[in-house]
């Protein structure tokens, strides 16, 4: 303090009080409040609504006694009647059945399809392995509603594949784009990379020495494969199957576009209940069911991977003996290419359509034009801007929250926060949207229909991925660097901002790009929650598809894909995460 400034006792008391505040503790409470308000509270509200059948305004109860009274009355009338009707058959029950059947079927098909692939990548000298590996990640880049659009171009009534099929002399359609079959196909061929890479890892872990022992004892190569290699990889395979189940079960983009009228799926049903009929009771029951199912399978997957021994993953750099038999590697190469044909064709179809003047019946469009891109850039500049702004907003929130959460979890062992921040993993997008709409529908926090709530929803939904990325770098920062900053006079918060934060930048940057990318791709929350004056690119594609403006939709879709590929490759470079 300089000599010239005399402070009144009151001022200095205030200063002392300000100094005594532990700013870090405040941040911790802010983070807790954030998760409580935008995650726990909406889920609790939805849970209560599923019993009462009418909106329950929990926040309102805190500020207004009248609302409190209404709520208590509604809660006292709570009953299991809605759940009973769910189990008693009817549309909800069949929706659940269909969704479960879809998810189980897709998981099984994906696993069967991926076993040879995973073996090829992990254990053979398959030609063009790196190129194929890169191609195998492309399906993940494409939002499912765009793949669905591609399927319509291929397998629609006038789709080129069906045209080709008929010109070969067959009757009817090869596959109907608007059917359960095509939904299954899209999910299988676009979700398989989710399972492939964990399975490759599982095949790599499996103990080579056991296999050598088996061969040594006279077993043939194929019997070693069947009796030793495969069983050892089983935990990894099951875990991958459970992951696919969750992804398929909560996928919104495919069914919302392709589900035919007769096919009831739980995500579509929930969407219709809330956006079509404002049926609080129905929507919330479906939400609870979705969360419950996702939670069970998520927990199962965690349970299985927990018992998996990853110990050998890091410690065994010695070269695995790869299968280099020409017959095996070449047939696996052909197989991999066949697997990649369908997703590539779907993306290719969207691309062709984005350049087409008109494309009715026929193998190829009548002519080619850049008009749709011109239209997209002149008429939909706003949508592009909105996407960037919304994604940017979500990114800022998730960077701040994820950095703080990783700090608290790594340095202070705050396991509660770790748990809370992983909850979004089990909440399907559509479920989170419904919970938000219900909770923030009325005062005091009337946020439904605002861009802010949409941004928060994006941020919450992608938070676990962001945290995974920042947590990794946080663990690599030794605590003494931070102690040094404190020792040199910085408060803990200042130490985090000036020292820990900058050192976490690589993780933050990689995580942010991934958040940005997934927000741009996001369908379910966007369709449910985006206010019309804030419509992002994905919503525009979606609406255009429904309206039948397929050409501009395709052009915009290509734009999204291009953006995603560019950003994702930057992120990959940053994290240098190469599987090979």
């Amino acid at each position: 303090m300089s000599k010239g400034t005399e402070q009144s006792p009151k001022q200095s008391r205030l200063k002392n009080w300000l100094l005594s505040i532990d700013s870090l503790k405040i941040m911790k409470w802010v983070v807790y409040l954030f998760f409580f308000l935008f995650l726990v509270l909406p889920l609790i509200s939805v849970f209560l609504v599923s019993f009462t059948g009418q909106p329950v305004n929990l926040l309102g109860s805190l500020v207004n006694p009248d609302i409190m009274a209404t709520n208590i009355e509604r809660l006292s009338n709570a009953s299991l009647e809605h759940y009973a009707s769910l189990l008693g058959g009817g549309t909800y029950f069949s929706a659940l059945q269909n969704s479960l059947a879809l998810a189980i079927g897709v998981s099984i098909l994906v696993i069967i399809m991926c076993i040879p692939l995973a073996y090829a990548f992990a254990r053979t000298t398959m030609p063009f392995k790196k190129t194929l590996a890169a191609l195998c990640t492309i399906p993940l880049i494409v939002p499912t509603f765009i793949s669905a659009a591609g399927f319509i171009i291929m397998f629609g009534r006038t789709g080129w594949v069906n045209t080709l099929y008929q010109s070969l002399g067959f009757d009817g359609l090869l596959i109907n784009a608007y059917s359960m079959t095509s939904i299954v196909l899209i999910q299988v061929f676009f979700f398989f990379p989710f399972a492939l890479w964990p399975m490759v890892a599982a095949f790599k872990i499996a103990d080579i020495s056991l296999e050598e022992a088996s061969n040594n004892m006279g077993a043939k190569n194929w019997s070693t494969m069947v009796f030793i290699t495969f069983p050892l990889a089983i935990p990894g395979i099951i875990s991958a199957a459970l992951l696919i189940f969750t992804v398929s079960f909560s996928d919104f983009g495919t069914p919302i576009i392709l589900a035919p009228d007769g096919l009831n799926l739980i995500v579509v049903e929930a969407y219709r209940e809330i956006s079509g009929f404002f049926n609080w009771a129905g929507a919330s029951i479906l939400t609870i069911v979705m969360v419950a199912v996702a939670a069970i399978f998520f927990w199962l997957q965690r349970f299985i991977t927990r018992n998996m021994d990853y110990g050998t993953l890091s410690g065994k750099p010695k070269g695995t003996k790869l299968n280099d038999s020409k017959v095996v590697t070449r047939s696996l190469f052909v197989y991999t290419c066949i697997v990649l044909v369908l997703p590539m064709l779907a993306i290719f179809s969207v691309m062709i359509q984005s350049f087409a003047t008109t494309w009715g019946t026929g193998l190829l469009p009548r002519g080619f034009t850049m008009d749709h891109y011109t239209t997209v850039f002149t008429r939909s500049g706003d949508n592009i801007m909105n996407s960037l702004l919304l994604a940017g907003g979500a990114l800022i929130i998730s960077v701040i929250v994820a950095t703080l959460v990783s700090y608290f979890v790594v340095r202070e062992n705050t396991s509660k926060l770790d748990f809370m921040s992983s909850i979004p993993l089990i909440v399907p997008g559509i479920a989170l949207g419904i919970a938000y709409i219900q909770t923030f529908n009325t005062a005091p926090l009337q946020l439904t229909g605002t861009a802010f709530l949409l941004i928060v929803a994006y941020a919450i939904r992608r938070m676990p991925y962001m945290i995974r990325s920042t947590m990794g770098t946080m663990m690599a920062i030794k605590s003494d660097i931070e102690e040094a900053a404190v020792n040199l006079g910085a408060s803990k918060l200042v130490a985090i901002i000036t020292v820990v934060g900058p050192l976490m930048l690589p993780g933050i940057a990689a995580g942010s790009i991934l958040v940005f990318v997934t927000v741009i791709k996001e369908t379910s929350i966007t369709v449910l929650m985006a206010p019309s004056d804030w419509a992002p690119m994905s919503l525009m594609v979606f609406q255009n598809l429904l309206r039948g403006e397929v050409y501009t939709a395709s052009a915009m879709a290509m734009l999204i894909i291009a953006l995603v590929i560019i950003l994702q490759s930057i992120a990959n470079k940053m994290t240098k995460n190469s599987l090979y």
Partner: protein, 375 residues
């Protein structure tokens, strides 16, 4: 201003007790070493002084003031970490300037503080004040690194990083300098140079320094006072010479230099108080130590034993022994000998005309009474 006192410091963790009542009284300007094996509590003691650990009970006083409730960032202890803990995203200058910049961040008008904050985020966002520049360059000159101010810290050698860490701690003019095994990451030669550098700086600045180490040579060669710790307790506090020549305890004796230690019994006392002690039930030795105890530990340093050559005679403590192993160490020779059924180490200075004994040679050794310590 710079004295440090620690009173009855106890630190308990969930399962273990790290400190069981540690007392220290370190005077201003003193160089104090905490010496002990790993896990003895020396680092915990230092972390309690720095404020990184909250003691379970007991008091820490810096400059006669109890600082238990003062947070670590306001204790004004400069600390040099074992890993140096330099900030990898800052260059040498920014590392050293950090404490001064932070000081600016907490003082001044809002605008000034915003500027300071910007500078902390990136060096291009603002220039440090003249005062800071001067202070940092002075500190860097002090450790002879002024020419490297713009280097990234990862481009420096281990010894240079060490000196940056030292400059960074000194620039804040701390009331106490804390050093946690600062030399353990350096090679042996560099370690010896740094010992001299650190000691010289400490003497120049007359700064109270606490130095944690497990290396007795380091502690003995640098410190004014040494506290030897074991299992969360201080075993002995003394000057280095006192510690070596008069260890209180076999643990200290063994930790501070190598030594021959045997069980013994005092069987008689001379008129002047000197003791006659029986070792290993078969050997009688005289010792100048005065003691009331009967059961004692008998300690003889290897260099305290003389090998009698060229017909030299002594009137007491002369024994016959057989050479088992002879090791040439350069300036000295070490013999492992068998003496009345005991294994004994003897160290002798090597001179060009020294006779070297071989394995199996029978020699006469002399243990001067003043070198035979009873503890």
């Amino acid at each position: 201003m710079g004295s440090v006192k620690v009173k009855n410091l106890v630190k308990k963790y969930d399962k273990a007790t790290a400190l069981k009542g540690v007392n220290l009284d370190i005077k201003e300007g003193e160089f104090y070493a905490l010496l002990g094996p790993s896990g003895c509590g020396k680092t915990t003691t230092m972390r309690c002084i720095a404020g990184f650990e909250n003691p379970t009970s007991g008091e820490v006083l810096i400059g006669e003031k109890v600082v238990n409730s003062v947070p670590a960032n306001r204790r004004n202890c400069g600390m040099v970490f074992q890993s140096y803990a330099l900030f990898p995203h800052y260059n040498v200058f920014e590392n050293v300037a950090y404490s001064l910049t932070i000081r600016d961040l907490y003082n001044g008008s809002f605008g000034q503080r915003a500027k300071t904050f910007a500078r902390l985020i990136h060096k291009k966002l603002g220039k440090p004040s003249k005062e800071i520049q001067e202070k940092v360059h002075d500190a860097l000159k002090y450790v002879e690194l002024d020419h490297l101010a713009d280097r990234g810290v990862n481009e420096l050698s281990g010894g240079q990083q060490q000196r940056v860490a030292l400059a960074r701690a000194l620039v804040m003019e701390p009331s106490v300098l804390l050093m946690d095994e600062p030399l353990s990451n350096l090679d042996k030669k560099l370690r010896n140079t740094m010992r001299t550098t650190i000691r010289k700086i400490q003497q120049d600045l007359k700064i109270t320094t606490i130095f944690v180490t497990h290396d007795q040579e380091e502690a003995m060669s640098m410190a004014d006072h040494v506290a030897v710790m074991r299992d969360g307790e201080i075993v002995q506090m003394a000057t280095p010479t006192e510690l070596y020549s008069n260890p209180k305890d076999p643990f200290v004796a063994d930790f501070v230099g190598s030594s021959n230690i045997y069980q013994g019994k005092v069987v008689d006392r001379k008129e002047n108080g000197d003791s006659i002690v029986k070792v290993n039930d078969n050997t009688i030795l005289e010792s100048t130590t005065h003691t009331d105890k009967e059961d004692v530990e008998v300690l003889v340093r290897p260099e305290g034993i003389e090998i009698l050559k060229n017909g030299r005679m002594e009137d007491h403590n002369v024994l016959e022994a057989t050479v088992k192993i002879s090791t040439y160490l350069g300036p000295t020779i070490r013999y492992d000998i068998e003496l009345a059924g005991m294994e004994v180490m003897v160290e002798e200075e090597f001179q060009p005309n020294t006779t070297l004994f071989k394995e199996g040679d029978v020699i006469k050794v002399f243990l001067p009474a003043e070198r035979v310590l009873l503890i």
